[in-house]
């Protein structure tokens, strides 16, 4: 691994007060009733989660990552721009990564406006991702999944046009018509904030990232698959005459650090279990609404789901996914090794996993910041250097 290693803190802001009988529900997404959402407890959680996000900046993390999901206890960020907006005035150096609002779920001009606002408000600290959105989002929003990919491409084209050309411009597309595309404000960063695609590894989204020169980050894919995807991204990007930089391939890692390996496992695993068993629990129909993926992809994923079916097994999760649970030394070794294999120096650390209580999140972030990050930096990170100047 070379260059400036970069460390993000990614938070899901889950709603964790599930009803006692929640195991009876096949899915905590889409149709899991919002009658189980208690706004008072929600308020307390928001207060707490915002403080954790802000803490990451104080501790020296390079970036704070938020994202968007709907109709679910998995995340209380139906509108991540609101969270970004809340933490901008409370943070100084960290990049604010909204990774992100699926462009299909908003009018493209409005998303261009919101992101530009955040970029200007944060003095150019914004980074954005343009996810297609999980299958579940298409059950919660009035958008046809069969044309999701075409709409996604068109939305991104509109946003980039809005950001890079002096307005007003026109756009006549399949899904949207703009007679005066002229959003105010424009982004602080030129030509626009760094962009990524975040996906679960369908060939279409990798291709889109390669074509547009965006970064790509695969979420919830196995190590083997992530390696293939990074290779594929570099290969496809070179076919467009582009070179993908290591920092454009953020590697998502579930991370929990403690004084000893045993302690890390004792403290961390139950929350990782909650994350996989409960927070992520949903049905094949919700994951794959009609037309969301190709028939070939559906068969591949259905076959895989059969294999992964069964009770949570930490060793199996640990084996299959990027999961660093251990002492600072062990986590440094693990991250360094994965960075090398994956060709990246950009680590997106999921360090507040599942129903982890505040004290563990604070402890985890502190140990990562004090014992892991410094050992992995070869030079001062960009954000800190800029702040020092």
């Amino acid at each position: 691994m070379s260059g400036n290693a970069r460390f993000n803190f990614m938070h899901f802001l889950p709603y964790v007060h599930l009803p006692e009988n929640h195991k009876e529900f096949k899915s905590l997404w889409v149709d899991f009733s919002n009658k189980y959402y208690d706004p008072k407890r929600g308020h307390t959680l928001y207060q707490r989660y915002l403080s954790e996000l802000v803490l990451a900046d104080r501790l020296g993390f390079d970036a704070i990552v938020v994202n968007e999901h709907h109709n679910t206890a998995y995340s209380m960020m139906a509108a991540p721009n609101l969270i970004a907006s809340a933490i901008i005035p409370q943070t100084r150096n960290a990049k604010i990564c909204v990774w992100g609002t699926p462009p299909n779920l908003e009018y493209p001009n409005r998303l261009a406006e919101e992101y530009a606002m955040l970029d200007v408000m944060s003095e150019g600290r914004l980074e954005v991702a343009f996810p297609l959105g999980t299958g579940m989002e298409y059950w919660a929003n009035p958008i046809n999944p069969t044309t999701a990919r075409e709409r996604h491409r068109e939305s991104i084209a509109i946003i980039l046009q809005a950001w890079t050309q002096d307005g007003p411009t026109k756009f006549f597309g399949e899904f949207y018509t703009y007679r005066f595309l002229n959003p105010w404000p424009r982004p602080y960063q030129k030509p626009h904030p760094p962009c990524y695609i975040v996906g679960t590894g369908s060939p279409e989204t990798v291709e889109l990232a390669a074509e547009l020169g965006f970064g790509y980050s695969a979420v919830f894919v196995t190590k083997q698959r992530a390696l293939e995807l990074n290779r594929k991204l570099r290969e496809r990007a070179s076919s467009y005459g582009r070179t993908i930089r290591p920092d454009q391939m953020p590697l998502g890692v579930i991370t929990y650090v403690a004084e000893t390996k045993q302690k890390a496992e004792d403290e961390g695993i139950e929350h990782i279990r909650y994350f996989f068993e409960d927070a992520l629990r949903t049905t094949p129909e919700f994951l794959n609404p009609p037309g969301y993926i190709s028939v070939e992809q559906l068969k591949i994923r259905a076959a895989l789901a059969d294999k992964l079916h069964g009770k949570f097994d930490f060793d199996a999760v640990n084996e299959a996914f990027f999961c660093a649970v251990g002492t600072p030394d062990q986590v440094v070794d693990q991250l360094s090794q994965w960075g090398e294999t994956m060709g990246t120096n950009h680590f997106n650390l999921m360090a507040a996993v599942g129903n982890m209580p505040n004290w563990k999140v604070v402890k985890n972030l502190s140990l990562i910041a004090e014992e892991v990050i410094p050992r992995m930096r070869t030079t001062a990170p960009v954000a800190r250097r800029a702040a020092a100047e």
Binding site: N144, T146, P290, G291, E296, K299
Partner: protein, 254 residues
């Protein structure tokens, strides 16, 4: 025993499979959103008619065309198929999604329809007797909702998880979602259904759990001269479940 002949045709660039049997006046059957239960019910019709049974684009053995993304594309597809086959006028039978297509076809091209049969047709909004949201139903619940007697479709369902079957159903649901995701009905039908002036028969299974049989009367409000035949002990797949229903279609068209 009647067997279907299988033909491959290219209709405006889309490769489709057309099953045919029998001779006589043409009878065009438009199938519903799932083709897994086959077309046994149509075989007796071949005694008196030249039965034409095309797979719609995006269903069964026909090819996909994602650009066909509204019902009207399917209406135009059948205008083009009739032209290709040199057929000026047909007896038109449409079931479920195919009933929706058939009703729209007959509304717009009435001169090409001798007689019309709509079997449990989709497409009409009836808030008192709402159509089940087929796209929102869990896949495992759907088969039981199609019939009154489960034994009728059991032979067509896999006995253990079958990736090809899952893939085929996902493909047909994808095609259906292209047509119905935003609007599972056509709010303009009531405005134009009066144009169905050809002899028209509405056929329903009394225990239809997807499209309630009470909708037959709703259709008739807009097509006053239509006949209604409702069959007891049958669900949505009334043609598969009741030989009398299949016979009633044949007798009406004769």
């Amino acid at each position: 025993m009647t067997e279907f002949k299988r033909e491959t045709l290219t209709v405006n660039g889309v490769k489709i499979i057309l099953l045919t049997a029998g001779s006589g006046e043409p009878l065009l059957f438009l199938h519903g959103a799932g083709t897994f239960h086959g077309f046994e019910f149509a075989k007796p019709w071949a005694d008196k008619f030249r039965v034409l049974l095309p797979f719609h684009p995006g269903f069964g053995e026909s090819a996909d065309d994602p650009a066909m993304n509204d019902i009207h594309d399917y209406v135009m597809h059948y205008v083009e198929l009739l032209d290709l086959l040199g057929l000026d006028k047909v007896n038109l039978v449409g079931f479920s999604l195919g009933g929706y297509i058939a009703a729209k076809f007959a509304m717009e091209h009435g001169h090409r329809v001798r007689k019309l049969v709509l079997v449990g047709p989709a497409g009409l909004r009836d808030d008192k007797h709402p159509t089940a949201d087929v796209l929102g139903l869990p896949g495992e619940q759907l088969p039981a909702m199609l019939v009154s007697n489960f034994d009728v479709i059991k032979p067509y369902l896999p006995t253990k998880p079958d990736l090809d079957f899952i893939g085929d159903r996902y493909r047909e649901m994808t095609t259906t979602a292209r047509l119905l995701w935003e609007h599972p009905y056509d709010s303009k039908l009531p405005r134009y259904l009066h144009r169905l002036t050809m002899p028209t028969l509405l056929v329903w299974g009394e225990e239809d759990q997807l499209i309630p049989s009470q909708q037959a009367e709703t259709w008739r409000r807009f097509i006053p001269k239509a006949d209604i035949k409702i069959f007891k002990g049958a669900g949505h797949l009334v043609l598969d479940e009741k030989r009398e229903a299949s016979d009633a279609v044949q007798n009406f068209l004769a």
